[in-house]
């Protein structure tokens, strides 16, 4: 109790002549923590969004290859609550041209079940689909691709692609179809190269052999993709099941590397804060050296003295962290409002809006990240408080105040 009482008074007592040092350290810790957490939440948001687009648009959350028909697969997997949507699909290469034009481009043809373009699935929520009002979308072309070959909605295109033949393994097919909708997702590369055909007739062309199914999980189960893959493998042992991470392993590795580098930079920032914390903590100990000498002369043990400064450091750090966490919570929760406010100022200066400031961030911060950073800051602060006290404790009590 004595230790806590003295520690608290040394940190914050109003009569404490070095009170301002404690307050400056508290402010420093609060701002440092705010900067770390806000930056981490924004970087998480950017990464999450990037990953979400990849898994929702380019690939599915899980891809399953099996000999079973759609109804059989659905029957087998109905027990897995995490599965929200499942579509049979085929991805194949094609040559696309405007009807009557000699200009053609290569494109990826995604042939899929019709409900893909009508369900509210992750693809739909992450992209915009423009359809003629009277029709249901069956052929959707990426907007940049439609610009590239000069096709507008309801115009005919010729598609040449390869499908299993009746007498040969594979044979080229040519179909003329009408583009009834255009889409735009957040993945430009996908939009520039893809035509989606949600027509069962096209799917029938691929009835022979193994079928590929794209699976979307519910939002809350997105992090359990690994365990869902294992569940599917257990239920359908002959099947081939791959998660979106496995399907995009190169890209996923790049993103992981990016995340590692992001953490490295954050820790470098943290290191700069730690250096400031160190000098502040040492200063806190040095301004109290007179009191330390008095306490030692009254019979306080060296051990107690070092504990005292660690407790003092703990009080200051905890207060700084509490303020920092509250500020971070407010800033992260209102990040878009803050950006919009900044955009207003930008508009007042340049008479135009900023694309960067209007970007809709969905800031995200894991509980583990908050705890990790808070504990890290606290441990560092306490360690440096201890180091500061230890350097003084090597001296005899009167040596400490000899120059006072």
């Amino acid at each position: 109790m004595f230790l806590l009482k003295v520690g608290w008074r040394y940190a914050f007592s109003r009569s404490n002549r070095h009170n301002s040092v404690s307050i400056v350290i508290v402010i420093g810790i609060a701002i440092g923590l705010l900067a770390l957490l806000t930056l981490l939440s924004v970087m998480n948001a950017l990464q999450y969004e990037q990953l979400d687009h990849i898994r929702s648009i380019d690939s599915f959350h899980i891809q399953l290859k099996t000999n079973l028909q759609t109804h059989q697969v659905k029957e087998h997997l109905k027990e897995i609550q995490a599965i929200e949507h499942m579509y049979q699909f085929v991805d194949t290469q094609s040559i696309v041209s405007q009807k009557g034009s000699s200009q053609s481009v290569t494109a990826r043809l995604r042939i899929i079940e019709p409900s893909f373009l009508t369900d509210s699935n992750p693809f739909k929520s992450n992209s915009s689909l423009w359809t003629e009002t009277s029709t249901t979308a069956t052929v959707a072309m990426g907007l940049p691709l439609s610009y590239a070959i000069g096709v507008r909605p309801n115009e005919q295109i010729g598609v040449t692609f390869i499908a299993p033949g009746k007498t040969v393994t594979l044979s080229p097919q040519y179909k003329e179809i009408s583009v009834d909708s255009l889409f735009r997702s957040h993945l430009d590369e996908f939009d520039q190269k893809t035509i989606i055909i949600a027509d069962p007739e096209f799917l029938h062309l691929y009835d022979q052999g193994r079928h590929t199914y794209g699976i979307y999980l519910t939002k809350r189960d997105l992090r359990k993709v690994g365990s869902v893959v294992k569940q599917i493998q257990n239920i359908l042992p002959e099947s081939e099941v791959l998660s979106w991470q496995q399907l995009n392993s190169a890209l996923y590795s790049a993103l992981l590397l990016e995340k590692m580098l992001m953490y490295l930079f954050l820790w470098l920032m943290f290191f700069i804060i730690a250096i400031n914390l160190k000098s502040a903590s040492m200063r806190l100990v040095y301004v109290k050296q007179r009191e330390l000498a008095i306490l030692r002369s009254l019979g306080v043990r060296k051990e107690f003295s070092s504990h005292l400064f660690v407790v003092q450091g703990a009080f200051i750090t905890l207060l700084g962290e509490a303020i920092g966490l509250m500020l971070s919570f407010v800033v992260i929760r209102n990040f878009n409002t803050i950006l919009h406010f900044a955009d207003r100022i930008y508009f007042m200066i340049y008479q135009r809006h900023s694309a960067v400031l209007l970007f809709p961030f969905q800031t995200y911060l894991g509980v583990g990240e908050v705890i990790g950073i808070s504990v890290g800051v606290c441990a560092l602060s306490l360690f440096f408080s201890y180091l500061g006290a230890r350097s003084l404790l090597k001296k005899e009590p009167m040596e400490i105040v000899r120059n006072e």
Binding site: S15, N16, E291, G299, V300, E303, P397
Partner: protein, 228 residues
């Protein structure tokens, strides 16, 4: 003859800086008996305070031995030395050395708090001591709210709090005006006698030195008795 309480044997203390070495104490011998009061006088810089700090285990000698009740302090580890300072020694410094963040009452009972004594007992004793020095109305004042004389009275109470065998006072009236200094001197001697303590005192004041049983002059690193 009363028992030997503190014995300083062949004490030397050397302060070394980058370009010079100063021998403050050289082969100093001093014996202090229980229940007596000893005054050390000497010029400024003669090493009086250094001698007190060594006697109270606040500083280590460069050579020689310090015995307390016949036990060599070199044998004490940090825990025993802390206990020695807490239970057997009461320090009164020239510049009071009170803790700024604590009230007068708290400053007085801190030595008992360190000794982990029962709160009610220590508060009662601290109040009694403060009452004796006329500060019963200033119990909850912080040091910055007290005058120099009041602060020194609080420091005297703190030194007596744990009922130590030896009171070490380093020019306790050095920073006070003449009238207050006289009051504090009287009070210190009176309290030491009332509580049957041994006093080791460093002072510039001849008058205060004459109130003690024995006086020594510290010069050239050694002490010599002063004949009355």
């Amino acid at each position: 003859m009363s028992n030997l309480l503190l014995q300083l044997s062949h004490i030397s203390k050397r302060f070394a800086s980058a370009n010079q070495t100063i021998d403050v104490l050289e082969d100093l011998n001093l014996s202090i008996y229980e229940g007596t009061s000893v005054a050390i006088t000497g010029k400024s810089g003669s090493g009086k305070s250094t001698l007190l700090h060594i006697a109270g285990a606040l500083d280590a000698p460069s050579g020689g031995e310090v015995y307390f009740k016949g036990i060599l302090l070199d044998y004490y580890d940090d825990q025993l030395l802390s206990e020695y300072r807490n239970r057997h020694i009461g320090f009164i410094f020239q510049s009071h050395f009170l803790l700024d963040d604590f009230s007068a009452l708290e400053n007085v009972f801190i030595p008992s708090l360190i000794a982990k004594e029962k709160r009610s007992i220590m508060v009662k004793r601290a109040k009694e001591l403060l009452d004796k020095v006329g500060l019963s109305s200033r119990l909850h004042h912080k040091p910055f709210q007290l005058s120099g004389g009041e602060k020194q009275r609080v420091a005297i109470c703190r030194a007596l709090m744990n009922n130590p065998s030896l009171i070490i006072a380093d020019e306790p009236t050095g920073s006070l005006d003449e009238q207050t200094a006289q009051e504090i001197e009287q009070l210190l001697i009176q309290l030491v006698r009332e509580e049957h303590k041994t006093l080791l005192l460093v002072t510039h004041e001849k008058q205060l030195a004459t109130l003690c049983d024995t006086s020594y002059l510290l010069s050239n690193g050694r002490v010599t008795p002063i004949d009355e």
